[in-house]
């Protein structure tokens, strides 16, 4: 058993466990089984809805707040998807989706778009490589 473990880079316990499964159920029992434990509460639909609403103004989905918080998201998604989770679960889901809590920055996009000849960050131009004299005052 120890020799096999060294060859397949697994522990002796693992080799013994797989061998026992083979003896009990044959080749069909060998592939890894689904990990035991409770199924996750959140569903793919819940995650998709979370990633959809996080980019929206909360007022547009009937939440009377200017900002999303994890608690607000949990309540709003519970009403929409019937999946009730805590604020901490929302936080973990956002972190898993590469979201962080960060300060926003200003834009004058709407006002600037009303002016002819405007070019700024909205068009993807970052004005890198140009001297300070060429950079717009308000990107």
């Amino acid at each position: 058993m120890a020799e096999i473990a060294a060859i397949v880079f697994r522990s002796r316990d693992t080799v013994e466990r797989v061998l026992n499964r083979f003896l009990r159920g044959g080749v069909a029992a060998i592939p890894p089984r689904k990990a035991p434990g409770r199924a996750p509460t959140v569903t793919p639909a819940w995650k998709a809805e979370l990633l959809r609403v996080i980019d929206l103004d909360p007022h547009t989905v009937g939440v009377h707040s200017a900002n999303w918080t994890t608690g607000l998201l949990a309540l709003s998604l519970a009403a929409q998807t019937r999946v009730t989770v805590t604020a901490e679960t929302v936080r973990l889901a956002l972190r898993a989706a590469d979201y962080v809590c960060k300060r926003p920055t200003w834009t004058l996009k709407r006002k600037a778009e009303a002016q002819p000849g405007y070019a700024g960050n909205a068009s993807g131009c970052r004005w890198y490589g140009l001297g300070p004299a060429h950079r717009p005052l308000h990107p």
């Binding site: 007022h59 200017a66 608690g71 962080v100 200003w106």
Partner: protein
């Protein structure tokens, strides 16, 4: 007094505390303050994607219209009186304090109102306040907090909720829409007295799970 304050701190106790303590059993204590709601959003951290490209953009409106909200809270039962005005003027302040007195008088209670030192709150700075104090001297006491000490008036804590719900990172395209949010928010404060008490850290707030956890979300 010696039961409430450590002996070495007795010298720091304001002189009027001795006089005010016996009034408390027959008084309603109100906290009053103003908050500025401006069209130019206040910024705070918000959920956004990692990296610079993920940073959210908040529209700067250019013209910074503003309005002032006047708030008055009963520190014991969470009753809230909210008003709006274009400036922090004495007429609105006096109307609000008179509303507190009108509420307390039928109950046989003295109205003690804790306010900051804004000149329109003081008899020295406002004729209206002088008149009001003279008229209601048997039913009203105004307590001024020390200068530059916002922690002395717990209603300041309430505005944190207002900022989060109304002004932080707001995306309202017009000031009229933002104004609607302000009215709705003050209405929420009127309807959720216990949440108001919890927000200002009142010892009279009912503890336990929040009936309306929206305001307390992280």
């Amino acid at each position: 007094m010696t039961e409430l304050v450590e002996a070495d701190l007795l010298d720091d106790v304001p002189p009027d505390v001795e006089e005010l303590l016996p009034l408390l059993p027959h008084a309603a204590v109100y906290l009053q303050d103003e908050v500025q709601f401006a069209f130019h959003p206040t910024l705070t951290r918000v959920w956004c994607r990692k990296g610079r490209r993920g940073q959210r953009l908040v529209e700067a409106p250019g013209a910074n219209d503003k309005v002032y909200g006047f708030g008055l809270v009963d520190g014991c039962d969470g009753w809230f009186d909210g008003r709006f005005a274009p400036g922090r003027t004495a007429d609105v302040f006096c109307a609000q304090v008179r509303a507190a007195v009108a509420r307390s008088r039928p109950r046989g209670r003295l109205a003690i109102v804790i306010v900051d030192n804004l000149h329109t709150h003081t008899p020295a700075g406002s004729k209206l306040v002088r008149q009001m104090l003279a008229e209601l001297q048997d039913h009203l006491r105004i307590i001024y907090t020390p200068a530059d000490d916002p922690d002395a008036n717990r209603i300041e804590w309430l505005w944190r909720w207002s900022r989060r719900e109304v002004t932080h990172n707001h995306q309202r395209p017009t000031f009229a829409a933002l104004r609607e949010d302000m009215y709705a928010h003050f209405q929420t404060l009127r309807e959720h007295a216990n949440l108001v008490l919890r927000q200002i850290g009142s010892p009279f707030a009912e503890q336990g799970p929040a009936a309306q956890p929206l305001a307390y979300a992280a």
